[in-house]
Subunit: 431 residues, 2 copies
């Protein structure tokens, strides 16, 4: 997923050939419409079967000492979360428990709170508040990327700058060039492992170069390290992500790394535990902000998770069961792409995570989504993987294989394939 | 608790009498110090015995259909919370379920988010954003009041103006006078039932006058109605709070009312469900803000609460069991005050809620807290019940009887009584 395909047709065709192809595809499309499908490949939601893997959570506190964390988990207090929950988060993120805060059910909320705090109160105190600077804060967004990151950034009034996602991670030449010349750039969003939506994992070199950004950009720059898929491997030989915090410490830029993870796609998507990790200075300031709006997180749910998951080995064992459910779905989607779109689109082959990124013929992504919807298959809106919902090439589509059943994938993917081909042919007709 | 006592000594005393009294009290105090107590009457936390009343929560999902709310409670989604949870909140707040959002474990977070949104994005859209006005926003704070309200207000940079809490509620003459003359006043904090810390409930007349404020102050004014103790009665003949939302609708000021409640002091202090209620216009704008930072609340915990509490009758039955634990503690504290401080201090006699408010001799509250701490009894810091921690009279102390056992109250209250008397005598000596 390095470059957008410029022309995905394998041969030039005459107007007559194109018209014939369009007619054939339109006829196939019409036949698919007849089926009256109602399928959804939009959001990266775990399937009910995956959620069932964690039904043991409801028994995890049977006979448990609710004060085993040192304080009564049911009562007020404990802004940082339970010590045992923080250890779990530390294992997930590969940092020390002292660097971790365990929170509520959404790491997205931590991300919003961290950036709001940086803008409003300053990441390291009032004199560092981004809102006090004369220039509007700007933020680097790796594209294609995660729409909810972009929504947070936009809602806080930061200008978003696109940086291409390469197979190795963000285009670091471009990142370094931008950061060196513009002190209003306050940070970069990263999903370092099984990136959303490409599924690529940042290489060691990329992580090392990211760790050096703090030296280039200064002490007020932040890497928003959303490690949402830290343990979400589909295969037994997962890529190993270099430890950003360690690299940053070596560079003297530890304040630049702010890390996030959660159990949302480990246990329960809407009722898990979120984690944030950062340097002592970052955490000290963040706690002040957090303590204004809450007395503490739901420690009972944290204890439920600690008792159920136990430790990183428990998490890995659970993730293998997720993989057994997810892997066939990913492979099925890929087999349809291979069979139906070879040479007509480009896509990634993720080894984990929740998404497959497809680049269709430039200028056709919106039409593909429209056509698929017209045949009862809901796709993530085209453009969603770009800031402001604007894909400059109108080419990227994010597929989410997790929620659908294999049978639903078998029904939905032919629609997608025909939609991609039909939109491409029509585009070429109108050139 | 209408007025601060100006001189709480019942008779004038000569210097010799005062010195003798001081010596006697100092000796009693020293004897209490000998006991090596370590007691805490600070925060309004439920006791473990109260928390035990809701241990059934852990069984509430046994055999439950986790998708009974129309969607799988375990998965993402449902920004407004489960419909059944919203109905529970509606019952608590006396409004329609359509006016309610059910959230996470802290109504404090809703309060912060609502005010942040009003300041950042505008309560009814961008053109109404408080930050766009030239004057710094100001907020009315009923005193004595709840420190965490003041902390939120201060953190957002609003100036806080004190308004006295009378037996009837806020001093409405003063409120109306201030609001009429100052468009930078954006709202008022209210704990309308069993106010924190006085325990008074707003009268019908006060609620009606509050409902009219929107007409005086304009469409951008907000009543932050923190009904934290809506069902927290100690006795069977509770005061009835008039329905603010209904009054506001009658006045055409429905947008001015924003209501909050939670199950924190019904089920689990740190792991309950929070509710917010507001007009459709308020909610529409608030949802946009909320949806930036979360995909939805913990719906599993909401379902757990719905199944455990059932409805308002279930809540009331549970609250009677809380009252059976709390009432003797309140009465015990009051008996010590009656016996030891009659004529020397003034205090409230709450019929519910979590606090007793004591006004000691002006200029001595800080010293009382210091003396009590010196004898091993931790009290809420003097000044905490006022914005910026500044009690202009240095007179108010908030007692929290809930967490201590009756035995601990029996040990702690003599310390409090002696501390109040000793501080008062010394103050008179140094006049």
């Amino acid at each position: 997923m390095c470059a957008v395909p410029t022309d995905l047709s394998t041969s030039t065709s005459s107007d007559t050939d194109l018209a014939a192809e369009e007619r054939a595809l339109a006829s196939e499309y019409a036949a698919l419409q007849e089926r009256g499908l109602k399928l959804d490949l939009t959001r990266g939601k775990p399937s009910p079967e995956q959620l069932d893997l964690s039904n043991g959570l409801e028994k995890a506190l049977d006979g448990a000492d609710l004060a085993s964390g040192g304080a009564d988990a049911r009562n007020y207090g404990g802004l940082d979360g339970l010590p045992a929950a923080r250890r779990l988060g530390a294992d997930l993120l590969g940092v020390d428990a002292a660097e971790v805060i365990a929170g509520g059910n959404a790491s997205l909320t931590f991300m919003y709170q961290y950036l709001l705090n940086a803008w409003l109160n300053g990441p390291l105190g009032p004199e560092t508040a981004w809102r006090r600077e004369t220039a509007q804060p700007r933020f680097l967004c790796v594209v294609p990327g995660y729409d909810r990151h972009f929504t947070i950034t936009e809602s806080l009034g930061f200008e978003m700058l696109n940086v291409r996602m390469l197979d190795s991670g963000p285009d670091m030449d471009e990142v370094e060039r931008l950061v060196a010349g513009d002190s209003s750039i306050k940070g970069i969003w990263c999903v370092p492992k099984y990136q959303n939506p490409t599924g690529h994992t940042f290489t060691d070199d990329t992580v090392r170069r990211l760790a050096r950004l703090g030296s280039i950009a200064g002490p007020n720059f932040r890497i928003m390290w959303d490690n949402a898929y830290a343990v979400h491997d589909l295969y037994d030989d997962p890529p190993v992500l270099l430890d950003l915090m360690e690299c940053c410490r070596a560079e003297g830029t530890a304040d630049s790394a702010v890390m996030f993870a959660s159990t949302s796609k480990i246990t329960r998507a809407g009722a898990g535990v979120a984690f944030m990790a950062a340097s002592p200075g970052n955490l000290a300031q963040f706690r002040k902000h957090l303590g204004v709006q809450t007395i503490g997180p739901d420690k009972v749910n944290q204890l439920r998770h600690v008792n159920f998951l136990r430790d990183i080995d428990g998490i890995r064992a659970l993730m293998r069961r997720h993989a057994a459910i997810m892997r066939p779905k990913f492979e099925r989607v890929l087999s349809f792409l291979d069979a139906g779109l070879a040479g007509r689109a480009q896509w990634t082959r993720p080894r984990g995570g929740y998404f497959i990124s497809v680049d269709v013929a430039p200028g056709t992504a919106r039409e593909v989504v429209r056509l698929a919807a017209g045949a009862g298959v809901k796709l993530t809106p085209a453009g969603a993987t770009f800031p402001y919902g604007r894909d400059p090439d109108d080419a990227n589509i994010r597929l989410a294989p997790s929620y659908a059943t294999l049978d639903e994938i078998d029904q939905a993917m032919p629609v997608f394939v025909i939609a991609v081909r039909l939109a491409a042919v029509r585009r070429r007709q109108h050139r």
